[in-house]
């Protein structure tokens, strides 16, 4: 073990605010520093993940105050897997946005500086959300995540970024209000903020407080996790933000939101009916999002709605529960991160010159940008779940999990909703390759860095597609960890006995 989990939060936080100072010395450092830092963190995180898979979770106590009094960070195979995934996606987003043209269009380097600063903070906050073991600390990280996301959404002055951002901010503020109210109810009734301690004491809560807190939490977290009907911010934010930010939203921010929902339902509270609730909400989310995606005329909005639909499917998989369901859900989260990021990255180059980003402007672009179009098509085939790409295995896992639980109706619903997905993705691929080009829009070749990170994602899709075993081991371990609530509580709370 080379480092402790606290470095995963402390180093990027420190580096983020160091970036402006380093930029004064040499402007290129503004672009280089985030990559170096994220690369180191990724190394640290992979190393920690290997360690935890062998030796069980690492619980880090901050400032010597043991749980349940102090704040603790929990690096388990489950949270560690998500943290590693986020850092990996962060690295690819950094490579992609290195010397990204529109950033360089601005004469001064101020916007570039802000972009990297906010990106670093966003990654810090997302990793913080999954690692922390304290609900108030979680609130703080969610707020940091929110503020950076608002900032990045409003990045472009010439688009409607500010409008999308304000919308996001309004919903986000209401969400934080609900979250704070829920935390208050918990604290006033149980006198603790530590997740493990809450999980132990949750049965002492009166039903009325328990239900109120649960509903407030679900509303608050559902907004970040794009759960229906709280996902109105998502299509606008995705379509107005710069392309790498869209990829970061899909790969990092939404994962953090989903994590909070899952932690809430699997660890904090045990209330009858929440799993069924997840299934129902997931199906409704899927249904509305896929139909909305089907009727979109703009590429990025279509991708954003498809992203919401995928999150719905993840919720369904978590709602199925048991180890198989959780395994399927984690596999879906992994696939969604890599595939949807690839779609955002390649898709935004396909419509780079276009102002309105209409899908019809993709006609015949396959001949002009063969590699980028191929990568987009690969992503489209993978996300709808065609074999032998990565998405196939996760969808199969969801269906198997549902079949083993005897939920045949759910299988039928998932399959029929997926059919819509297949139709609208194939429609786009059809336009790219088989429709004659009818616009005089020029094309912009991706930068070598952008091409590299897209090729890496494409390669991962193929590798996981042909040899799913490279990832399934970690996923099985992670899902087993999430379900083992007893050992989570024990690992966290036993610290106060051993150290004192």
């Amino acid at each position: 073990m080379v480092g402790s989990p606290v470095q995963l939060i402390a180093i990027p936080l420190f580096a983020a605010f160091l970036i402006p100072l380093l930029g004064k010395a040499w402007k290129e450092l503004v672009r280089i520093t985030p990559g170096v830092v994220i690369l180191y963190l990724l190394y640290l995180s992979v190393d920690l993940l290997n360690y935890t898979i062998e030796h069980g979770r690492v619980v880090e106590v901050i400032a010597g105050w043991t749980p349940p009094w102090g704040i603790d960070l929990v690096f388990s195979p489950f949270s560690g897997f998500l943290a590693t995934l986020m850092l990996f996606m962060g690295l690819l987003v950094w490579i992609y946005s290195y010397r990204y043209q529109t950033f360089e269009d601005y004469d001064d380097y101020e916007p570039t500086l802000k972009y990297y600063l906010l990106l670093m903070m966003m990654i810090t906050a997302s990793v913080g959300v999954v690692l922390t073991g304290d609900i108030f600390n979680l609130f703080v990280f969610i707020e940091i995540l929110g503020i950076t996301a608002y900032g990045l959404t409003a990045y472009y002055r010439h688009r409607d970024g500010a409008e999308a951002s304000f919308k996001y901010l309004f919903i986000g503020s209401l969400s934080s209000t609900f979250l704070l109210l829920a935390i208050m109810i918990i604290y006033s009734q149980l006198g603790t903020l530590n997740m493990a301690d809450i999980a132990v004491k949750a049965h002492e809560l009166k039903p009325v407080y328990k239900i109120t807190a649960l509903v407030l939490f679900l509303v608050a977290f559902g907004i970040e996790a794009e759960m229906f009907p709280l996902n109105g911010w998502a299509p606008d934010a995705y379509s107005q933000a710069p392309a790498p930010v869209g990829a970061a939203f899909a790969g990092i921010v939404v994962k953090a939101g989903l994590y909070t929902v899952i932690r809430l339902i699997y660890t904090l509270f045990e209330v009858g009916g929440t799993y069924e609730y997840l299934i129902v909400m997931g199906l409704i989310t899927m249904f509305f999002a896929e139909f909305a995606a089907f009727s979109q005329t703009k590429l990025k909005r279509m991708l954003a709605y498809s992203s919401i639909g995928q999150m719905g499917l993840v919720l369904v998989a978590f709602g199925i529960g048991k180890e198989e369901g959780v395994y399927a859900a984690l596999f879906l989260m992994f696939n969604h991160a890599i595939i949807k990021s690839l779609l955002f990255m390649s898709g935004s180059y396909l419509v780079y010159k276009s102002k309105n980003k209409y899908i019809s402007e993709l006609n015949g672009v396959g001949k002009m940008m063969p590699v980028t179009s191929f990568l987009f098509a690969l992503g489209a085939f993978a996300i709808v779940g065609f074999p032998p790409f990565a998405g196939f295995w996760s969808k199969l896992a969801v269906l198997t999990a549902a079949a083993d639980s005897g939920m045949l109706l759910i299988i039928a619903l998932i399959l029929s909703i997926s059919l819509i997905e297949v139709i609208y993705y194939l429609r786009v691929v059809n336009r790219i390759y088989f429709v004659k080009r009818d616009t005089d829009l020029g094309i912009t070749k991706p930068t070598p860095q952008a091409m590299f990170s897209m090729l890496v994602l494409g390669a991962i899709i193929l590798i996981v597609g042909f040899y799913p075993d490279v990832i399934t081991g970690v996923l099985h371990k992670a899902s087993a960890t999430l379900l083992d609530k007893g050992s989570y509580i024990n690992d966290v709370l036993s610290l106060s006995q051993t150290i004192n």
């Binding site: 002055r157 409008e163 986000g172 935390i183």
Partner: protein, 125 residues
């Protein structure tokens, strides 16, 4: 510490004011059409929640939560320090969000020459 016990006048005032503030703020945020008024509403909601949080930790006749033998011998009852720490953090976060939001409003105003939410409709609301 529970919400229901020792309902004296002071406690009722605290909780009543806090809940009233939250409701007034929510009304402003959801009904008003001016971006500035919406933000003021969100700030009022924040204040209400902060007041509610502090009231939870309040103890009648309690002293400041400082551990020193002299204070504890004289009056062992202390107010709960945790909600106060939480409120401090929440105030700072609320301040930051409001600042970001105002910056966005300035940007929107320059773009659209209005702060009326009904006239800013390039995206679907």
């Amino acid at each position: 510490m529970s919400l229901g016990s020792n309902l004296d006048l002071l406690t009722v005032t605290f909780y009543g004011t806090a809940i009233a503030l939250i409701l007034i703020g929510l009304y402003a945020a959801l009904v008003k059409r001016s971006l500035i008024k919406i933000l003021i509403g969100l700030s009022i909601v924040d204040s209400g929640i902060n007041l509610l949080l502090v009231s939870i930790g309040y103890l009648k006749g309690g002293t400041a939560p400082i551990f020193s033998p002299a204070v504890i011998d004289k009056n062992p009852a202390m107010v709960d320090p945790v909600p106060q720490a939480l409120v401090l953090t929440a105030i700072v976060i609320g301040f930051a969000v409001t600042a970001v939001a105002l910056a966005l409003v300035i940007r929107l105003y320059r773009h659209h020459k209005t702060v009326n939410i009904d006239e800013i409709k390039n995206l679907k609301w």
